[in-house]
């Protein structure tokens, strides 16, 4: 499934690899998308950290179990059936597939309480059902890398011993290593990091260097000095400066470590452990790396357009108090630049046209963010209604996030009273019935619930057209939590506008100044096309 020309993006990964991961996130399955977003992200983490050794071995043992199980393996294409036709890749379906113990000569495959216990002629291995999702993503990736892997595994693994399984794992790792060298060349990322560090040294910037001025200065310098690293894009320059800041910050935090052990340095081998890198990297990093595009699936908590607009604000939200202006610049001028780049592929006349078009103003952006915030509010209300109709006690927590404070206090007082008087069952059953009595006596709460019902009925998006089944309700809680997070993120930016109004003649004068800066730089970058 390869054969595309290699084109490495500014992030240091090939377009092919991007296309594969986009497909992994969206490929359909028996119900909705085949793979969970977390599992796809986990495999992405393994690959970027080159930490796939353990997963390759686990996959080997899992495939062995599928092929050698009396019932599961009794199929001309057992791996195809297990992973693609039956999709036994959720914990529930996995347990179902292996529900019958298999004992053939000295092989035993049996489901225990916590894991699938696999015993071969000379090995024993346990696989947790919670790992099968990640391993199935890895297998899909491997098959995309080379389609003949599936047949090879099926041929080699019938009654294979431990040495053969480990040999497969080793071959697979080698092939992954070579593949990633082509599709994620480390040299490019090294050059970028060193370029940023050299600039920081040149400008004598140290800790706390991440400011609006630094980001702008770096971009203006790099875009004209170093075209080969794609720093013409404001988005790339900003991304690299922020990521360098994060990386250096992480080092400084560990500076007091007595040895490099805490960072995973193997002194003898002289290299860092990929496993420790993964742990440190993703333990340290906050949720700004989280990808919320799952919220545009089913249930549709956000539209794709809303997420596209929110993405830059969300990604850099943990930095927003310090570099809000840069983030706004990214959202507006980054988009303006993307339009110019697209125009450049078509004609010079179109480039000139795009250069002379005014981008959306900061005020327009503020309005748009406020509109999205309000839309999110409606979805949260719809979720509250769903919880209530399905008699799920989570509706109270949801309700309290958007009612007026006085009503929230009344609800809390009511809850306390219910619990103390013993009127509520300990498992909160009957809570909705009891709550209706409160609604009768409190018009404002009644109105809030009525608004929730209206929001649900007005919502035509998938996942909100009809009430879901009770078994499907947990995803609505995840949606609620992420939507609440997004509202908080938006609120920070909206407050910047208010503060700016007080200080600097408002956002519009800042915008006018920024338009001038960016237009001048774009004209220098795309100037040859412009002049033609």
């Amino acid at each position: 499934m390869q054969g595309k020309a290699m084109n490495i993006t500014p992030y240091g990964v090939s377009e092919t690899l991007q296309g594969i991961f986009e497909a992994l996130r969206e490929t359909p399955g028996l119900s909705g998308n085949k793979f969970r977003m977390e599992d796809v992200n986990k495999v992405a983490q393994y690959l970027v950290c080159r930490n796939y050794g353990k997963a390759c071995l686990e996959l080997g043992y899992l495939c062995w179990a599928v092929i050698n199980h009396q019932r599961v393996g009794d199929n001309k294409n057992p791996l195809l059936s297990f992973f693609w036709v039956d999709e036994s890749i959720t914990p529930k379906r996995f347990r179902n597939a292996f529900s019958q113990e298999s004992q053939v000569q000295n092989h035993q495959i049996s489901l225990q309480r916590e894991s699938l216990s696999i015993t071969g002629s000379d090995f024993h291995f346990d696989i947790s059902p919670t790992r099968v999702g990640v391993l199935s993503v890895l297998l899909e990736f491997i098959v995309n890398m080379r389609g003949t892997w599936l047949q090879e595994i099926e041929d080699k693994f019938v009654e294979a011993n431990d040495k053969q399984i480990k040999s497969f794992s080793s071959e697979l790792q080698k092939e992954l290593y070579q593949y990633l060298n082509e599709h994620m060349p480390e040299a490019q990322q090294q050059r970028r990091f060193r370029f940023v560090c050299q600039w920081l040294e040149q400008e004598k910037l140290s800790e706390g260097f991440l400011t609006d001025d630094a980001i702008l200065d770096f971009w203006r310098y790099a875009s004209l000095e170093q075209d080969s690293l794609s720093y013409t894009l404001y988005s790339s320059a900003m991304s690299d400066l922020v990521e360098t800041h994060k990386a250096l910050n992480e080092i400084n935090l560990k500076q007091n470590a007595k040895s490099a052990y805490s960072m995973g340095l193997d002194q003898e081998a002289g290299e860092y452990s990929p496993e420790r890198l993964t742990e440190n990297l993703f333990e340290y990093c906050s949720d700004d790396d989280a990808d919320c595009s799952w919220m545009c699936d089913t249930p549709k908590f956000l539209t794709k357009m809303q997420w596209a607009e929110l993405q830059p604000f969300y990604r850099y939200s943990s930095y927003s108090p310090n570099i809000t202006r840069s983030i706004l610049r990214l959202a507006i001028f980054g988009q303006w630049q993307a339009n110019i780049v697209q125009a450049k592929r078509k004609s010079n006349a179109l480039v000139v046209q795009k250069l002379n078009e005014s981008p959306a103003s900061y005020y327009d952006t503020k309005q748009s963010l406020a509109d999205i915030c309000a839309a999110i509010g409606n979805v949260i209300q719809a979720i509250c209604y769903i919880f209530m109709k399905l008699e799920d006690a989570r509706f109270i927590g949801t309700l309290n996030t958007f009612m007026e404070e006085s009503e929230v206090q009344k609800t809390k007082a009511w809850m306390q009273q219910q619990v103390q008087s013993g009127d509520l069952e300990t498992d909160l059953s009957g809570i909705v019935t009891s709550f209706k009595e409160l609604m009768l006596s409190e018009p404002a709460i009644n109105q809030a619930i009525s608004n929730c019902e209206k929001s649900f009925k007005n919502n035509n998006k998938s996942g909100f057209k009809v009430l879901p089944e009770v078994e499907e309700i947990d995803v609505y809680e995840q949606g609620f939590e992420s939507l609440s997070e997004l509202q908080k993120v938006i609120a920070v930016y909206l407050s910047w506008f208010s503060e700016t109004e007080d200080q600097n003649n408002g956002a519009e004068s800042i915008f006018t100044s920024d338009v001038s800066i960016f237009k001048t730089t774009f004209e220098k970058i795309y100037g040859a096309a412009h002049a033609a």
Partner: protein, 176 residues
């Protein structure tokens, strides 16, 4: 900064920017093996996108044909060219038979008649899917669900699907 710490910061930078890259949408989404399996099952919400890519890639088409055969319930290999001039000669296997009959009223229309001896639940309850594999193209043909092991579909004589079914060089694959 000490060299080893610099190296570690570099690794963190590379891993994080790489992860950002893998979370971006690309210009062209890949076609995975799972997409082909879903296309065979008739489960793709937007099959046209995959079909366009299939038509542009011989590698993908070969993989698609291979998957169809692996997932097959029964197959009928390409036939020796018929010794008669009967253009509507059908197929017969242990599992199914496929016959053709011209419509008596509208001569330009032809019935394809399918008989399956031991049908699956899917074939009886939902629909019956045949693939006609010819020249590295796979044509998907859907029939209504079986009644008493039988189903039929009416085609115009020049319908490509019918032509592929009739062609003795086609490999006919019955899906479960």
């Amino acid at each position: 900064m000490q060299p080893d710490k610099q190296e570690y910061a570099e690794m963190l930078f590379a891993a994080r920017t790489g992860l950002q890259g893998l979370q971006q949408s690309s210009g062209e989404k890949a076609i995975l093996m799972n997409d082909l399996v879903q296309l065979i099952k008739g489960n793709l919400p937007e099959p046209e996108q995959v079909i366009v890519q299939l038509n542009q890639s011989l590698t993908l088409r070969r993989q698609y044909a291979e998957l169809i055969k692996q997932l097959a319930y029964a197959q009928s290999a390409s036939q020796v060219a018929a010794s008669t001039n009967d253009k509507l000669a059908g197929r017969e296997t242990d599992i199914f038979s496929l016959k053709f009959k011209r419509d008596t009223l509208v001569e330009s229309q032809i019935y394809a008649l399918l008989n399956i001896k031991h049908p699956t639940g899917n074939q009886s309850g939902k629909s019956v899917v045949l693939f006609a594999l010819l020249d590295e193209h796979a044509e998907r043909i859907e029939f209504p669900s079986l009644i008493d092991g039988r189903t039929q579909q009416l085609f115009e004589e020049d319908d490509r699907r019918l032509q592929r079914l009739i062609n003795p060089n086609s490999e006919i694959v019955l899906m479960p």
